[in-house]
C-alpha cells in the first residue's frame, strides 16, 4: 500500500434549506459521514444513481463544496493540506494541484476563446509561467499529450467534435501540473467509440504522469474497465468499496448487485430480471432511517429500518455496509456471470 493522496474521515457536506412549516430548518446531507482513501497514482471509481451525492463528494474533495463536518487531507511529495481550513495562498496552491474535468464538453469551453487561450488560462490566472513563450511551450506540450496539434490550438471550440472538445478540457485540467484530478462523468456525453478513446487517454495520463483520479460515473461497465478501486454511493453514504475485480466478481451489497444487473447485456438471450430495483432513490431531504437503502431492498428486515449499518471489511480491501450480507450470495447475479462459451461461438 502506498500513501493516500486524499484521505477523508467522516466527511459531511450539508446544506441548510429554507424554513419548513413549523419554522425548523431542514438540513440536507448531500454527503453523510464518508471516509475513504485514494491511493497515490490510482484510478478511483465512484458510482451511484443521480442524487446519490457523488458529484458533491467530488467537489468537496476539491474544496469546491463546503465541508461541514469531518476532515479531508491532501498529501503529495511536496506538501500536505488540511482541506477544512484551507484559505489564501494555501488554497491557491491546492487549486494548482487538484483539478476537475467536467461532464459536458460543449458547456465547459468558452466559445469566444481559442483553444490555445482556453488551455493557457489556468497558467495565466495562477501565474505559473513567467513569459508568454514559456506559456506557449507548456500549452504545446500538454496539447500534444492530448493529441491536439498546433493547427487545433488556433481554432475555436465550435470547430471540434465532442471527443476533441473533451480532449481540450483534459488538456486544460492538466496544464497546471495537478497531482489529483476529479473526472465527473467525463465520458457520459460521448459516443461509445469516442468514449473508448477518451478513457484510454485518461488511463495513459494516469500511468505516465502518476496522477491520481477520482472517476465519477453512473456507468458501471466503464468503471469496471478503467478503475483500480470502486466505491458505491447511495444517498450520501458509501455502501460498498472494494478493488474493482473483487467488487465485480462478488458484489456484497444488494444495491451494488442491483446496479450490476441493471446494465443491459449485449447478449440478447441474457435477460436479468432477478435483481431489478423498484422505485427511485428517495429525496435526500427526507432520507429513510436505519439503512438508507431499506426502502428499495428486497432483503430488508426490521433491523434495517432501525440500525445504520457501518462499513465492515469482509475481504482484503473490500468493505460493505450491510447488516446481512453474509446471508446472500449475489455472485450468481446473471449480469456478471462469465459469458457462456457458446455465446460468441
Amino acid at each position: 500500500m502506498t500513501d493516500p493522496v486524499i484521505s477523508a474521515r467522516d466527511l459531511t457536506v450539508s446544506y441548510t434549506l429554507g424554513r419548513g412549516l413549523l419554522g425548523a430548518k431542514t438540513q440536507l446531507h448531500a454527503v453523510d459521514g464518508i471516509s475513504l482513501d485514494i491511493e497515490k497514482g490510482s484510478f478511483f471509481g465512484l458510482v451511484g444513481e443521480s442524487g446519490s451525492g457523488k458529484t458533491t463528494l467530488g467537489r468537496a474533495l476539491l474544496k469546491a463544496a463546503p465541508i461541514t463536518g469531518g476532515s479531508v487531507e491532501y498529501r503529495d511529495e511536496e506538501v500536505s493540506h488540511d482541506l477544512r481550513d484551507l484559505s489564501g495562498a494555501a488554497l491557491k496552491d491546492y487549486r494548482k494541484r487538484a483539478q476537475l474535468i467536467f461532464q459536458d464538453p460543449y458547456a465547459a469551453l468558452s466559445p469566444r476563446m481559442t483553444v490555445r487561450d482556453i488551455i493557457a488560462e489556468p497558467l495565466e490566472v495562477m501565474g505559473l509561467t513567467k513569459s508568454r513563450a514559456e506559456t506557449d511551450e507548456r500549452v504545446r506540450e500538454i496539447a500534444g499529450r492530448c493529441r491536439l496539434n498546433l493547427e487545433h490550438l488556433r481554432r475555436f471550440p465550435h470547430a471540434f467534435s465532442g471527443g476533441q472538445r473533451q480532449r481540450i478540457s483534459i488538456a486544460r485540467a492538466l496544464v497546471s501540473g495537478p497531482r489529483f484530478i476529479v473526472a465527473d462523468e467525463s465520458v457520459a456525453a460521448l459516443d461509445v467509440s469516442i468514449q473508448a478513446d477518451v478513457l484510454n487517454l485518461l488511463r495513459a495520463i494516469q500511468q505516465d504522469m502518476g496522477i491520481s483520479f477520482l472517476f465519477i460515473s453512473h456507468d458501471l461497465s466503464v468503471v469496471a474497465h478503467t478503475c483500480d478501486h470502486v466505491a458505491v454511493m447511495y444517498l450520501g453514504r458509501l455502501v460498498e468499496t472494494a478493488p474493482t475485480r473483487s467488487l465485480f466478481a462478488r458484489p456484497l451489497h444488494p444495491y451494488t448487485s442491483a446496479l450490476l444487473s441493471a446494465i443491459p447485456s449485449l447478449d440478447p438471450d441474457e435477460t436479468s430480471q432477478a435483481d431489478k430495483l423498484e422505485g427511485e432513490i428517495p429525496s435526500p431531504t427526507a432520507p429513510p432511517p436505519g439503512c438508507k437503502f431499506h426502502t428499495r431492498c428486497r432483503f430488508a428486515r426490521d433491523a434495517c429500518k432501525r440500525d445504520v449499518p457501518q462499513l465492515r471489511e469482509l475481504a482484503p480491501g473490500h468493505r460493505v455496509a450491510c447488516h446481512f450480507t453474509e446471508e446472500f450470495d449475489f455472485s450468481r447475479a446473471p449480469a456478471v456471470a462469465p459469458r457462456r462459451a457458446d455465446a460468441t461461438a
Binding site: E49, S193, P268
Partner: protein, 339 residues
C-alpha cells in the same frame, strides 16, 4: 414477409439547404418496419438517425430537401396507405403526427411545456387527435399515467414537469405518447439520460406496452446493450447511410460490417475486464465533405485504395437475411433488379 409493413422507407435521401450549400444528412436509406416489431436504429452522433426518424413525421425544418425517388409509405393496419412525403397540408400531417405516429425524446424536460400542467398537456393532445370530451380525456390520461407506473396518478396529473423526477418525466412522456394509441412509436434515445436502474424499468415498460398495444417501435440509440435487450432487428447507420441491417442476434454476434464490429469493440464489457477498449480510429467526417465511395473508408482498417474510396458498396445479403454494405462482406451481392 407477407405482412404489409407498417412503415416502408425506400431510397430516402435528405439534404438541408444551408449557407454552406446543400448538406447531405441521409442518403439512400431503405427499411421496413412490421406492426409489432421493434427496430433499433444505431449510430454515432451525426449519423443521421434522428433526421431519418423525424422524416417519418415530416418534422424536419423548412430547409429540408427530400431526394427524388425517396418514398415513405405508412400503412396503419386496416387503413389506406399514406404517402408521407406527399403530404402538403398541416391538417393532413396531423393525422400522422401524434395520430398514427408518436415520438418520445431523450430529454423529457424539454418536451413538456414548463408552465402548463402535465395533465393539461395530455388532455390537449387527446382532444386534437380524438373526439373525446375533456372528462374522458382526463380519465384516460390518469389511467395511462397509472399504467406506466407513476404512483398517485391523479395528483401527478395536476403537477408540472419540474415536479417530476427524471424517470417519472420519461414515464409521463411515454404515457402521453401512447394515450392516442399510435401504430408506430419513435423513441429517440429515451433512456440515455436516465440512471441504469431507471433505464431498466423504462425498457421493461416499453416491452410490456409493445406486447399490449401491438405497435411498432423505431428505437433510436447509440447503446448496443439497450438494443440487444429491446429490439428484434437492428439497422446500423453511419454518415447518413445504412451500413448493416439484420436481426439483433445476428448483427451483434456476427457483425458483417467493420463499423458494426468497431462499435461492439469500443464497448466496455463486464464479462471480460481485460479486453482493451478499442475506439473506432479517427472522427466522423463532417457532412460538408462526405467521403466518396464507401462513407466509412476513411476510418476503416480494411479499406482498399481504388475500390473503397471510389465505389459505393452494394448491399450483400447473408443467408440469415443480414444485409451488409461492404465490398468485403462474406456474402453475395444481390442484384437490385429482380433477376
Amino acid at each position: 414477409m407477407t405482412e404489409t409493413p407498417l412503415i416502408s422507407v425506400k431510397d430516402l435521401s435528405i439534404r438541408f439547404r444551408t449557407d454552406e450549400g446543400l448538406i447531405t444528412a441521409v442518403e439512400d436509406v431503405s427499411f421496413d418496419l412490421a406492426p409489432g416489431e421493434v427496430l433499433g436504429l444505431v449510430g454515432e452522433s451525426g449519423s443521421g438517425k434522428s433526421v431519418t426518424a423525424k422524416a417519418l413525421m415530416r418534422l424536419n425544418g423548412d430547409n429540408t430537401v427530400y431526394g427524388e425517388g425517396s418514398s415513405i409509405v405508412l400503412t396503419p393496419p386496416g387503413e389506406a396507405p399514406v404517402d408521407v412525403l406527399a403530404l402538403r397540408r398541416e391538417k393532413d400531417m396531423r393525422r400522422v403526427r401524434g395520430g398514427a405516429i408518436s415520438m418520445i425524446f431523450q430529454e423529457p424536460m424539454a418536451s413538456f411545456a414548463p408552465a402548463i400542467s402535465v395533465g393539461d398537456q395530455m388532455v390537449e393532445q387527446l382532444q386534437i387527435h380524438s373526439s373525446m370530451t375533456k372528462a374522458e380525456a382526463k380519465e384516460l390520461s390518469i389511467e395511462m399515467l397509472a399504467r406506466t407506473g407513476i404512483p398517485e396518478p391523479a395528483r401527478r396529473f395536476t403537477q408540472y414537469a419540474f415536479e417530476f423526477s427524471g424517470g417519472m418525466r420519461q414515464r409521463a412522456m411515454i404515457a402521453m405518447a401512447l394515450s392516442t394509441k399510435p401504430r408506430l412509436l419513435i423513441a429517440d434515445e429515451p433512456t440515455t439520460a436516465l440512471d441504469v436502474t431507471i433505464q431498466a424499468q423504462v425498457i421493461d415498460l416499453m416491452k410490456d406496452l409493445v406486447t399490449e398495444f401491438g405497435m411498432g417501435i423505431l428505437f433510436i440509440t447509440h447503446d448496443l446493450g439497450v438494443i440487444a435487450q429491446t429490439a428484434d432487428r437492428v439497422a446500423v447507420m453511419y454518415l447518413g447511410r445504412l451500413v448493416e441491417t439484420g436481426t439483433v442476434r445476428e448483427v451483434i454476434r456476427n457483425p458483417g460490417h467493420p463499423y458494426t464490429r468497431g462499435l461492439i469493440d469500443a464497448l466496455p464489457k463486464l464479462h471480460d475486464l481485460d479486453a482493451p477498449l478499442t475506439p473506432v480510429p479517427g472522427d466522423i467526417p463532417s457532412p460538408l465533405n462526405r467521403p466518396p465511395g464507401c462513407v466509412f473508408h476513411t476510418r476503416c482498417h480494411m479499406a482498399e485504395k481504388g475500390l473503397c474510396d471510389v465505389k459505393v458498396p452494394e448491399y450483400r445479403i447473408r443467408e440469415t437475411g443480414q444485409s451488409i454494405a461492404c465490398h468485403f462482406a462474406d456474402a453475395p451481392v444481390t442484384a437490385k433488379e429482380p433477376a
